[in-house]
Symmetry: none
Subunit: 223 residues, 4 copies
DNA sequence: TATGAATGAGATTTCATTCAT
DNA sequence: TATGAATGAAATCTCATTCAT
């Protein structure tokens, strides 16, 4: 579903040399994202990241320009996945609630999958202005898309009339908050959390019809 | 509505000296909470707080044991207000959705009112173990109360059958997230945000009946 | 034996007002000396001293000019007692070893008696130049007297020919070191320690004659 | 005589990198010990040590865990040398007074040699509990050995019957005190001081026989 | 006399980053 | 590519001392 994400990072990788470099960059980003999520940006040291990625702190600077750069790419990568989800949802011929749900599910999974420890939407204020505007622009693009999805549903009568901006933010908050309490080793899987929470969040704006209700309960067990 | 909160801090204040001290402590906590919320705990310096509260950095230590102590009291105070709201809601003879809503409204207002710049639920991991357990205990008490409010509604048939723990967390996330985007000088008031977001969040679990719907629109303008 | 010590401090104390002031000064010095001895000058805070003397830190400055002043008086008082002992010893018609011993005994007791928690010879380098020279002068006067006592004994043939300066310093070191390990609640009394250590230290330079030997064992149990 | 001391610090030093590192560590310890001895632990700043060792204050933390760690290694190294001296003395077939003297001479030289500015026995109370117990244990081992040396002499009739514990402490005090007055640029060499002071200290407990007397004057030769 | 409030200077330590190898 | 060594800036916190009451 999510294909060429972080394309800026993983170039075609012609030479083995380049491939190795890309693998290292991925490992570093993975370690950084996990630590950023767990302890926060400021409380994560370059040495911590280096240790987690199994190289020296000085060597990190051969792969990234610095700590801010790491945060930037973590967020950038996550936002790319989320935007992909939006594009996919929009192409799918489905009802507004269904489209909305698929986006929300993708959002939660991007955040929680341990493969991609992402930190989108989080810690943006820790970025220096130059990088921040780039991320903010992309984030805003994502939020606008989400808002538009809601607004479209309202217009089509599939969703009730509530301020799309505020509803979108409430959805984002509920989802981003999951990184605070979700534990991979816990009882719930990331997929289950995404499934239930997205159902709840959509239900808050979905126009109630017997049909819709049933529909929702059917979708229950995804992948 | 919320009266006896932070009683540990604001004693009767018999002497003028003690009164002045309490005023200073409040001013400091206020400044600290605002900065913690804006920049995060680690990125807020004692100097910043001192400057905002208009005294020297060293003098902060005359009123509080340290930076952690400041964070502790910010959170403690906010949680007290929220627990008050829960107690009030429970006493009120009303429907489950109504009780739930009044708690959510109080939660948002506690977070956003500029009078009381609070940081409940946020940055708990920045506390040292001793203080953390105290806050975590109180926070868990609050979350349990919220979950029970939901579970009770499910049992009484007023709310649909969804995992109360997860729904509670989704609500908390949506509300806590408001501190990242809400600006007092913006178009919406804190009260308006609390009103709309709580309606949305309750609707996600409310059993749909024409009565309920009307009820909700009526409650509209809270204090 | 030691009479008008610290005469500079305890004036005739005519008025009750003055008497009370003197009592306070004594209490403060006592507390300070004990703490200085236990933790060292730099690691003892004015607040610690204030707490031990049961008054506020600010109030200390009504009785003494500052921390250095406290240290100065502690040392000054102790040196006065020791100089008294030297004078007494010199007046006493006795053998050189006996005179030496009485000085050493007085030295140890001045250091260990809990009534007078003294810190002579210790921490002199912590004093600012102005106060330091005064103390150093007095201390040197004391050390010179001790050296002279030894040199006289050498000249009279009662002590063996060893560098009096070095022997004096060895004696001082052995005695001053007692404050490091002596515990009032321990098995040995301050008097016993002074008795035995002074015997040992004198024996190291005493010319051995059967008479001398017996003499020493007789002096055994002083007050 | 003392060879394998501080083996934990100076490993075989295979690589040139490691060798350089060891040299730096030694330089730092040397500077620290000298300053600790001169001004005391608390009154010596990391900046002072850094300046004396000719590197930045921050870089000290590359070589040692902190100020306490520096003090710990200073003391540990000195105690190792002293314990070495005890072992050597015990192996040597010699009279009790001779064995005792060789230990005392080694002790003084360990303290005074400017090559190894040591601070054993001093400032132990400035260490945090964890490090303190380690040092205290080693120090106690050394003191016990010294006491045993004395007690053995008493039992064999070579030394007079005096409390070995108190005599040992007196010896330690006299020797440790040397660091307060000894100046390398002064008239006496460290060797001369060690020679004379040890003779004095042994004489205080030595059973007097003509033979012993002559023996003692013969041992003279310190390097 | 007595004290809470206040502060400037300075302490140790951390950290992102650069440099030499 | 890789890393130990090195550093300047900044962080929290302590403390002797002064001031207003």
């Amino acid at each position: 579903m999510v294909r060429k994400s972080n394309s800026r990072l993983q170039s075609a990788a012609a030479t083995p040399r380049a491939r190795r470099r890309d693998r290292q960059r991925d490992a570093i980003l993975h370690a950084a994202a996990q630590l950023f999520r767990e302890r926060g940006f400021t409380d994560t040291g370059m040495r911590d990241i280096a240790a987690a990625a199994d190289l020296s702190a000085a060597n990190l600077y051969h792969y990234f320009d610095g700590k801010h750069d790491l945060l930037f790419y973590c967020q950038d990568r996550a936002l790319d996945r989320m935007l992909d989800a939006v594009a996919t949802a929009r192409r799918a011929a489905a009802s507004a609630p269904e489209r909305l749900r698929s986006v929300l599910v993708a959002h939660v999974r991007t955040l929680l999958d341990d493969i991609e420890g992402a930190t989108a939407h989080l810690q943006i204020e820790s970025l220096p202005p130059a990088l921040r505007t780039a991320i903010v622009r992309k984030r805003d693009r994502y939020e606008r898309a989400l808002r538009r999805l809601i607004a479209d549903g309202v217009r089509s009568g599939e969703l009730i009339d509530m301020d799309p901006a505020l509803v979108a933010r409430a959805m984002l908050g509920a989802m981003n908050w999951t990184v605070t309490w979700f534990r991979p080793e816990g009882a719930d899987t990331a997929a289950a959390v995404g499934d239930v929470i997205s159902r709840y969040l959509v239900r808050g704006v979905a126009m109630r019809t017997p049909a819709t209700k049933r529909q929702l309960s059917v979708v229950r067990r995804p992948s």
